[in-house]
Symmetry: D2
Subunit: 351 residues, 4 copies
């Protein structure tokens, strides 16, 4: 691990925590040196304490690590937080104040006025808020950056090129979200098999607000929301991984179908220019087959880091509509945070 | 069966045909006296020829009937057609010309200018087209009436009271449709388990056009489409029965949430006034729990003949949005046709 | 309810409790007059407190009942217990001591030496233990009777006629059990979708021991186990209701396939002779189609009160093998208890 | 591809054919140079003709290949056959006669007296039958080798070490097989969701006969069956990939649980000694957790080339019982054939 940066994972035994551990295994820049869990598991060996749900077992490199507790002294420069919202808030602040660079998947600080809600392809310039954050909070080396909700990330990746090329007036989206989005044990099997649950607590509110910050601007140390009307209906379906979203958009300028398709397929941004290790070659992949994307076939396109768009066609009510799919625990959660850390490392925030 | 009207089922071995057979078992007005199938099955005993998929086996009353072929002489006053679209077109016309009252679930004649596309709660007055149909085609006792596509029926049942009270400008709908909608064998299990298929052939076109005829008017022997913009995205999910639809509507007149809820919940129409045997007491049932309706819990509300609406709330892009659920092979197919026949019997068309 | 016997349900908000409530709705002999839940729910109206998972909502007749707590005074002659094993033990004893006739689905007292483990078709004579039970415990009117585990009931119903006709030496069974057997929330959806869990805690032990008591005899106030070797492997599959079991048996006397089939299909016992309201006409239903029984088609045969057997054929290792299916929360739990109560009412134990 | 051996895939568009294509992509010894399909698809570009169901799309290296027909001239030294049984029989013989080394997954020739039914870990010595096969049939360079049925392979891999160490008297197995085993479209979703189908045509017969040849011996150019009684019940469950099997065995010699576990876990054979590219490091992987193996977690252990065994414990009827899991289209089909070809290449049969 010569020269690799030491990182830790908070909430390492949960569903998103496991995904962090998996994605960081063999990472070229980061090396997991500490795993942190609730006090209940602290002190146990990770490979024994974790109820690993991704594959047959956790990576050998970290299986032997002894879990630390949230109150223990941590040594990593970077901490990835998969903490549940019930505890994430004050813990993340405390750790950032103590000098750690905290990259959080929790919802608690996403809408804080001095915390970047970051997607490297969408609003990499928002990272500059960190200077203000440090000044305001008196932090020297610490920082706190968040990634959006799993449904929001994929929606916003698809909206960004439309916003840039044609302006965006309104978005109407219905999601069919995967079971893993609720963690483990999460959704009861009797609510999943042969069923759709047409409601996910707090999810529609997040989808209506987070994209506005992401597509908005940073002016004079303030985030200014984008002016887009968003209406979301969020449902849960019997899919293990991969959120599907049916999206209709109203644009501010006229655009042909070909122009819209070209904007989506041609979308490249900072992570692609920088060649970040976790960056997908194509952040938005456009498929032309009539029955795609599908979770079981397409959720691992670009190693789960892309948003896959299909069925692009005119919308008789708004302007255009399409279906998108994205892996909810890779690009929609842990992978998003890892990419954020890669961006900030390259940009010098982690020195 | 003293005084019961003799009826037959065309396509009796298929998925919708089976549902016809089940719903007509013990019907107070109709008695199944003949079952018709493709020439391949004709001559076989129904109970042996059918691959019954609704329960352990077909009703005893019809299990012993010998299947007739499409070319055989039929004797029933009423014929319910569950024929596949590949053969339904000319067969249904021929049988209507021969004096049968044909109630079809096939798509072939739905948009014909002299064929009623009928939902008794929505456009019972369209039945009057039968007079013109008979005149134009030279039919004496025969008639041909169709019911809409399974997704359309439930959507239109929910739209009708909104249309009546507030006017309807636009509808944006995303469906999560059940597997039984594709018949048997229909959807491959490898396309269903752990998956969503974001496409159903021809379905979006039907949903964009059929409601316009249903919500439109009959003037001077012509159907005049309603002026509503409809945009549909149709997907298939791993649910056995029950289509879920996320719907957003733009109204022509202002309405409060309470007024919209009252219009939906208070909706009653001709079948309820007439007390038709298959009519639901409430054609639209409104639920207030935040996570309803759900297919596994609610698809048999009102014996599968109602449209269940939940999650009614304002839509930030259009005016209001809600989620609806309806049984796709009961009210969405066979039950719709049976209710049409009940209406026409009461109104004197079957004499 | 003129003349109906007052009954209550303990644990009325859980999965099995709900099934009790459903099965007792409209029962010709019993009338639910009180519903009992944990102290957390006590005092709330049943229709609001229960997370009803069987259909759109609980029966109207009991929705308005106010839930009692386990410490409250109860008035019903008969109490059906769907209590979790963690609390059932002492509560059921206390209530029986207080004079109630307690019919329990919990495992706690099943193997008690003075408690009948009862299947009315299998060992109705074991009810006589109640006399000894009352003497020994000093109970006047109270009594405690249990029904077996859901997998055991269906297995034992199929074994009983084989035992009677040919003697039984060994049984090897692999179960594929439904999700509802674990209650709600029970099995996590991530453990169910696209998966089999090859283990159910304590289940194999129950299947290896309970049938021995059921198929055994009652001599001199003692239960004597049957002499049968039983080996069970219990797995969980993505089925909502209905346990499937692959069974191989070794008999003590030679028997032809036809004799075995006749013994199974011809099985009738005390509940059928008595015409008990919940008794299936045929406790064991034999199907001859090669691909049956199947949960989705056959779990409601005989209103869920029968064991459905198919694929009967020679076993190259033991003697014969077959596949059985039974509804796990109807005949496998609540329905079993209701039938026990019906038997004991007819036999005069409830006076 | 310097020095790589040219190979082709017969039936390349089907489910197993796709798995061959996937496994051979980047193979160190073999290079796919021709893909063969039914005449219906011949002449089309593979990437367009195939309905690829493994991931987002087929490997780039072969997507551009033009599909050949079964009657076309083929040039590959090795042909992997994923042909359906309806056509495989004579086609495979003709191609072997024409000088190709044919490795078939079809059932047609498995039990032929001069055709090896081969699992490299189980009966590598059976490859010697090829000399007799060539003599008898007058083939110079051609050969025909088969791999067993998917359920049989995994069962036999687990039985082999038991057979070697303790002798094997009887096996009783119940399978819970994955949907992909039936190909595409294969099992209808209405037969899969919320269901178990307790029957798979011909499967039990294969499981009762193929292991006898595999565990048997080759003497004087004849295969002699092993003397083991096998009883199988085969069922289909709603799992995409990975067959689960509940197995009970009777041994010929006494053995402790520890000895049985050690025999299974310590099993190594010719492919491991030779370091064949597709050979798993451990052909049988033994897990000690009580609830494993599970398809969703363990089917890709050893890249899907191992049989995973868990729940080893005494059987009250036979001697020991356990649950095994194996990937049915990797080790259970295409991977089995590829490993057979690797073995025969190393052993000089492909020169």
């Amino acid at each position: 691990m010569a020269g690799k940066m030491a990182v830790g994972v908070l909430g390492a035994t949960g569903a998103v925590g496991q995904r962090f551990v998996e994605l960081l295994d063999g990472h070229p820049w980061f090396e997991v040196v500490e795993l942190v869990a609730s006090d209940r598991s602290a002190g146990r060996v990770y490979g024994e304490a974790v109820n690993w749900k991704i594959s047959a077992g956790p990576p050998a490199a970290v299986s032997g690590l002894v879990l630390k507790g949230l109150e223990d002294q941590l040594e990593s420069r970077v901490l990835f937080s998969a903490l549940p919202a019930e505890v994430a808030g004050p813990v993340e602040e405390r750790l950032a104040a103590a000098g750690h660079a905290v990259f959080s998947n929790a919802r608690n600080h996403r809408m804080d006025p001095d915390v970047p809600l970051l997607i490297p392809e969408v609003n990499p310039d928002h990272a500059a808020m960190i200077h203000h954050q440090r000044r305001r909070r008196g932090w020297q080396r610490g920082l706190l950056v968040t990634n959006p909700n799993c449904s929001t990330i994929h929606l916003t990746l698809a909206l960004k090129p439309l916003c840039d090329h044609f302006g965006l007036r309104a978005v109407l989206v219905t999601t069919m979200q995967a079971l893993s989005g609720a963690g483990y044990p999460g959704v009861a099997s009797l609510d999943a098999v042969d069923n759709v649950v047409p409601y996910i607590g707090m999810e529609e509110e997040k989808m209506a607000s987070e994209p506005l910050k992401l597509l908005g601007s940073l002016r004079d140390d303030c985030f200014v929301d984008a002016d887009v009307a968003i209406s979301a209906t969020c449902t849960r379906v019997a899919v293990r991984d991969g959120h599907t979203e049916a999206v209709s958009v109203a644009l501010r300028q006229p655009a042909t179908l070909e122009e819209v398709a070209a904007a989506l397929a041609g979308f490249r941004a900072r992570p692609q220019a920088l060649g970040l290790p976790s960056a997908p070659a194509r952040p938005v992949v456009v498929m032309s087959q009539p029955d795609r994307p599908q979770p079981v076939l397409d959720r691992l396109v670009e190693r789960g880091m892309a948003t896959v768009v299909g069925r692009l066609r005119p919308c008789p009510v708004l302007d255009y509509k399409f279906v998108l799919l994205g892996h909810n625990t890779i690009r929609g959660a842990a992978g998003a945070s890892v990419l954020n850390a890669e961006l900030l490392k390259v940009e010098g925030y982690l020195e």
